[in-house]
């Protein structure tokens, strides 16, 4: 995505130019086919390394800064993601996938420590503190969910070469990202979502989107001259469905379009007053910021510098756009991009009316993703299953080289020897080939029950115009009674796989997260077990004890003995009484 590259360049130039602390914010809007809109918010603030260490916080959030210092964290990446990026219709990902995470929460950090154990204890400190700060269950990232990726991630900041940095990575695929995570996210911003583009961020709209990703990246940046900076980069990317977002808040239930407002294909022979073939809209739908977000941008954040491109719209140059009168349009070299400077105190709105001309030549070209990846669980039954990963290289001439990284929970035990590959060309012919033909390198760290998960990193290459499918089998472990969550029958989340495509700036793709069905017992089990074993023991014990203690007599003798005892005599009388009553009633019958 060129625009992200441009923005990044501008930001790099800005941060290099002014070594002191500063703040920058930016919003990019881009309509996506068929009727969606990508809104990409970016907030960047810097602080100098000295004031960071002395804990004088101005733009940098104090809460986050203290956590990082306390946990010796040099670089931090935190992602909250929901939904799925539909690369078939939306093209390649914003920021080349560098600012998104797998479904749920993903966290990775470079921690400075002398050895692995210290690094891990610092990591636990970090997850616990972040958990409190972001109201997320990050504290559940324990040793079973923590991995140390070897080749999948590289630090993006400028670190001291000799530093003992440890990369730790953890995911929570089952975490539901919601408003309670957005509120602390907004609190970290200098303008608190009360001014500037952040004023658009509202939990109702954000988490109603088809796909959203919130990212926080903290890294040290050392410009060629001047002091080193600590940079916090907050990003929110959302893909909104225009139709859905335009629903009024007071009346959100979709209703059928009235007959006279339907767009019908009148060329159809059966078209009549009561029959209609709906016309697929080729032209972009009309929208405006206030319609989509339910509010307008309330002025610019006065702290932000780098005026000129605060709100950018990327659309066809022929598209008519009506910004608020107070704003100033800034020129950008790219023909598709139009940027506006926000007025300092008045609210800003952007109205994009429906495009009348149907010419699509001038539309923003969608970039084809370099690779499509899909990962599913196959197989049936409670004991075994299989994993299938499909890589599709759409390019006709270029081979794609990438690192495939997955962490499997310990209760999923893969059999790596069953790893098999098939290749399908564009002609549809499937061929079984040895996996080693695509896998150039393997890093495999088997899991240990209840201690750590399996870590698998593969360096793969997929030839052009072909689809490679990897499969392997796995076994499902049986958990202990207390290890099941309350909703055990829902299944267990398996974290998404991360794919890093080697390039000058690596491109990241994440697969969807998976649900694994484990054999689930009936949870009244412990009492059943107690009662069953007790009964068996009691039976065995009772018969042996009686055999040893009782005296053996013949039936007649037993009856005679019984008759002698008080109980026997009483019993005999009762029986006699009953017989008399019974006898009477029988006679009556």
């Amino acid at each position: 995505m060129i625009i992200f590259f441009i923005v990044a360049l501008i930001l790099a130039a800005l941060s290099a130019g002014s070594a002191a602390s500063n703040y920058h914010e930016n919003l990019l809007l881009q309509p996506l086919p068929p009727s969606s809109l990508l809104a990409s918010f970016n907030f960047k603030s810097n602080t100098t390394q000295t004031s960071f260490e002395q804990q004088h916080f101005r733009y940098f959030p104090r809460a986050l800064g203290q956590i990082l210092q306390h946990a010796n964290t040099r670089e931090l990446h935190l992602r909250f993601t929901t939904g799925r990026w539909d690369s078939e219709s939306w093209g390649s990902r914003p920021w080349d996938g560098a600012k998104e995470g797998g479904t749920g929460v993903e966290l990775w950090a470079w921690i400075e420590a002398t050895d692995d154990e210290t690094a891990f204890s610092k990591w636990i400190t970090l997850t616990q503190s972040l958990s409190g700060l972001f109201c997320a269950s990050l504290n559940f990232i324990d040793s079973t969910r923590t991995t140390r990726p070897v080749a999948s991630f590289e630090p993006t900041g400028d670190h001291i070469a000799s530093g003992n940095l440890h990369l730790l990575h953890g995911t929570l695929p089952g975490e539901v990202v919601c408003t309670e995570n957005l509120t602390p996210f907004l609190k970290l911003l200098p303008c608190k979502g009360k001014a500037g583009v952040a004023s658009l961020l509202d939990g109702h709209k954000l988490f109603d989107a088809a796909w959203q990703s919130m990212a926080i990246d903290v890294r040290p940046v050392c410009p060629s001259e001047g002091e080193c900076l600590v940079q916090v980069d907050q990003t929110v990317d959302i893909v909104m469905d225009i139709e859905r977002s335009k629903r009024p808040r007071g009346n959100p239930i979709p209703r059928p379009v009235p007959n006279d407002k339907l767009d019908c294909d009148t060329s159809k022979p059966y078209h009549a007053r009561d029959t209609c073939y709906p016309l697929e809209k080729t032209a972009g739908k009309s929208w405006s910021i206030s319609e989509l977000f339910g509010r307008t941008i309330s002025g610019s954040c006065p702290l932000a510098d780098g005026q000129g491109e605060t709100v950018c719209l990327r659309t066809s140059p022929l598209q008519e756009v009506r910004p608020s009168p107070d704003s100033v349009e800034a020129s950008v070299s790219d023909q598709f991009t139009r940027c506006y400077t926000l007025p300092s105190s008045e609210s800003f709105d952007l109205d994009v009316p429906e495009q009348v001309s149907a010419a699509t030549d001038n539309d923003v070209p969608l970039e084809e993703p370099v690779l499509h990846a899909e990962r599913t669980i196959v197989g049936h039954g409670q004991e075994r299953g299989g994993m299938r990963i499909i890589f599709n290289n759409p390019s006709t001439e270029k081979t794609v080289d990438f690192i495939y990284f997955e962490t499997l929970p310990w209760f999923l035990r893969p059999y790596i020897h069953t790893l098999q590959a098939t290749i399908t060309g564009r002609d549809g012919v499937r061929q079984q080939v040895p996996a080693s033909e695509f896998i150039k390198e393997t890093y495999y760290r088997p899991g240990i029950d209840r201690e750590r998960g399996t870590q698998l990193e593969l360096a793969l290459s997929v030839p052009p115009a072909s689809t490679v499918t990897l499969t392997y089998d796995f076994e499902k472990a049986i958990l202990r009674y207390t290890e099941y969550p309350p909703d055990a029958n829902r299944g267990f989340n398996v974290a998404p796989a991360v794919i890093k495509i080697a390039a000058a700036k690596p491109i990241y793709i994440r697969t969807t997260s998976l649900l694994l069905q484990l054999p689930t017992p009936d949870f009244s089990m412990p009492y059943n077990v107690i009662i069953l074993t007790s009964t068996v023991i009691a039976l065995a014990f009772g018969s042996i004890f009686n055999l040893l203690v009782r005296r053996f007599v013949t039936t007649e003798e037993a009856a005679a003995l019984q008759a002698q005892t008080l109980k026997g005599r009483l019993g005999g009388k009762i029986v006699a009484l009953r017989d008399r009553i019974r006898g009477k009633s029988a006679k009556v019958e």
Binding site: S51, Q55, H56, F57, R58, Y59, P61, R62, A63, Q66, I67, H70, S129, G132, L133, K187, P190, C191, K192, K194, A195, C301, P302, L303, Y527, I530, I531, T533, S534, T535, I537, A538, L539, F541, G542, F545, N546, L548, V549, R551, V553, T554, T555, E556, E557, A559, A560, L561, A563, Q564, G572, V575, A576, R578, D579, R582, G583, S585, A586, E589
Partner: protein, 564 residues
């Protein structure tokens, strides 16, 4: 049909009983009876000597031995009566030894007469007596320097602001003659000392009397009566708002403003100039970390009543009763700092230009202390008087503007830490603070220990790990060190010991494995034990009863047989 069957069934026992009445089994052989007895005895032996001990061992919880009585004694104040013998050195450069001795004796006598609080007393020492001191050397609380000055109309005293030194100026004629039993100079010195230590004494009396320990000191009651009610109230108030003692305090200075300006301040130099010296002075007592932040767009919480405009003064006012809601805890990022130790927050609030100047309605004050939390200062900077009606705050707060707030903050910090308000000398007040802290820590560690003792006694089902026992031992030994140090007048050392005692006491009281005690409700136990013990226990007990009955019957028969 059914009746017929029943008839058949029921008639059978009758028949058999009739027929078998004549065929009783032969009496059991004694051999068989003995075997049965042995079998029952063997089962019960296994249960009593193997099963029961195993059950007992596996279900009992480990409870380390605690010196309960000793712990309760500490909490009840029976083990230690804190005393504060303050050593005051008298420096008499211009007096001959004999006269100095005489003056010392007289002054000490007067002091002892004046003092009614026996736990806290002043001991005078001549400065040149230093060499004769024994190994145990007390801390010097105050040095009194007598300076002769001619043509002085009356006695005069002067307390140094930077040191713990009191200068007394006198004219040489006022030296008491060796024979006299009273002298104006001696009474003057005594009165001066009494005045200097009055507040400390009152605080000590309050601390000791509010704790169980104080009850054992009979004089504290009379002392408490002697304190004026206003002083007592102010001491109570100050003690209530002071922070709990901690080894490390985090100081967080925050600039809050409802708009977008000011967005920066000269915080480094302000901290350097106004806060660092205080922290430096306080370093023997606690460690401090400092962090600062700027928070814009900080609005009041919607439930807080908005400031009102006071027309007579032309100011915006906040009502005193609403000050507690001034901090918008839900939205203002005032999370406590990470790491052990409490955070003290200092908030510099710059009101919006439209609400400036903002003051407290009743007192017209602009700063206040939030007890055990921090301080607030409302800074009303001069608005730039531009020709526009659109007023706006300064973008940057210069160092001069921060002078007043940061002096207030340093003052608030001292009172939040519990420093007494008099006298003026800061080192002197900090010395007092050390003694107050030592006393409070000693008492709180003692009472924590006592609570632990009572807790373990009242909850017999909680486990007591060995670490708790060792913590308790450390606490008790450091408590007695602290007590010993207090008695010798070594307050720094007493504070150090009391700190250790307090941490250890807290650690043992909040031991995790003890707090989360194993809780098995009785129904749970029944559900686990009954399915097994019921079916096994019934035959066992019946077998035992039968045997006992047989043995008793046999014994009775034998006795009857022997009697007849």
């Amino acid at each position: 049909m059914s009746a017929k069957q029943e008839d058949l069934g029921s008639s059978q026992p009758d028949m058999t009983s009739k027929t078998s009445a004549s065929t009783l089994p032969p009496p059991e052989k004694p051999n068989a009876i003995q075997t049965r007895f042995k079998v029952v005895a063997a089962f019960w032996a296994v249960i009593l000597f193997l099963g029961f001990p195993i059950w007992w061992k596996t279900t009992s919880i480990y409870r380390a031995e605690l010196p309960i009585q000793e712990m309760l004694d500490w909490a009840g104040g029976k083990s230690c009566r804190p005393v504060f013998p303050l050593e005051i050195r008298i420096d008499t450069p211009s007096l001959p030894d004999v006269e100095a001795q005489q003056l010392l004796r007289l002054t000490q006598h007067t002091l002892d007469d004046l003092n009614e609080f026996s736990a806290h007393h002043l001991r005078l020492k001549l400065a040149n007596e230093e060499a004769q001191q024994t190994a145990v050397r007390a801390d010097t609380a105050l040095t009194v320097r007598l300076q002769a000055q001619d043509d002085l109309p009356s006695l005069r005293s002067e307390l140094h602001a930077e040191t713990t030194m009191l200068d007394i100026f006198y004219s040489p004629s006022q030296i008491p003659p060796p024979s006299s039993s009273n002298s104006p100079l001696a009474s003057f010195i005594a009165a001066e000392l009494q005045r200097l230590f009055a507040e400390e004494k009152a605080i000590m009396a309050h601390i000791l009397s509010s704790n169980a320990v104080g009850n054992s000191a009979p004089s504290s009651n009379s002392q408490a009566q002697q304190i004026s009610p206003q002083l007592a109230e102010s001491i109570t108030k100050r003690l209530r708002r002071s922070m709990k003692y901690a080894e490390t305090y985090h100081l967080a200075f925050s600039l809050f403003t409802p708009g977008s300006a000011p967005s920066s301040w000269d915080i480094e130099s302000a901290v350097q100039e106004y806060i660092s010296p205080v922290i430096q002075e306080l370093s023997p007592i606690s460690n401090f970390t400092v962090d600062t932040q700027v928070q814009l767009y900080a609005s009041f919480s919607p439930t807080t009543p908005a400031p009102e405009f006071d027309e007579t003064y032309g100011v915006w006012t906040l009502k005193e009763e609403n000050l507690s809601a001034f901090i918008n805890a839900a939205e203002w990022p005032l999370n406590p700092s990470i790491g052990s130790g409490p955070t003290i927050n200092f908030i510099l609030y710059v009101p919006a230009p439209s609400q400036s100047p903002l003051v407290v309605k009743e007192s017209k004050a602009t700063s206040w202390i939030i007890p055990q939390w921090g301080g607030v200062f409302i800074l009303n900077p001069p608005l730039p008087t531009t020709e526009d009606s659109d007023k706006s705050n300064l973008l940057h707060l210069p160092r001069d503007a921060l002078r007043a707030p940061f002096l207030t903050f340093s003052h608030q910090l001292l009172s939040l830490l519990g420093t007494p308000s008099t006298p003026s000398s800061l080192p002197f007040r900090l010395q007092t603070l050390i003694r107050i802290r030592a006393a409070t820590l000693l008492l709180s560690a003692s009472s924590t220990t006592g609570s632990l003792a009572r807790l373990t006694e009242s909850l017999p089902s909680i486990p007591i790990p060995a670490t708790v026992a060792s913590s308790v031992a450390t606490t008790l030994s450091h408590l007695s060190f602290a007590c010993e140090n207090l008695r010798n007048g070594q307050f720094q050392a007493a504070l150090a010991s009391a700190r250790v005692a307090e941490t250890e006491a807290e650690r043992s009281f909040f031991e995790k494995s003890m707090v989360g005690q194993m809780y098995f409700p009785d129904e749970h136990k029944v559900a686990v034990y009954l399915p097994l013990l019921g079916p096994i226990g019934v035959p066992l007990i019946l077998g035992l009863l039968k045997e006992v009955k047989r043995v008793v019957a046999g014994w009775k028969a034998r006795r009857q047989g022997s009697a007849s």
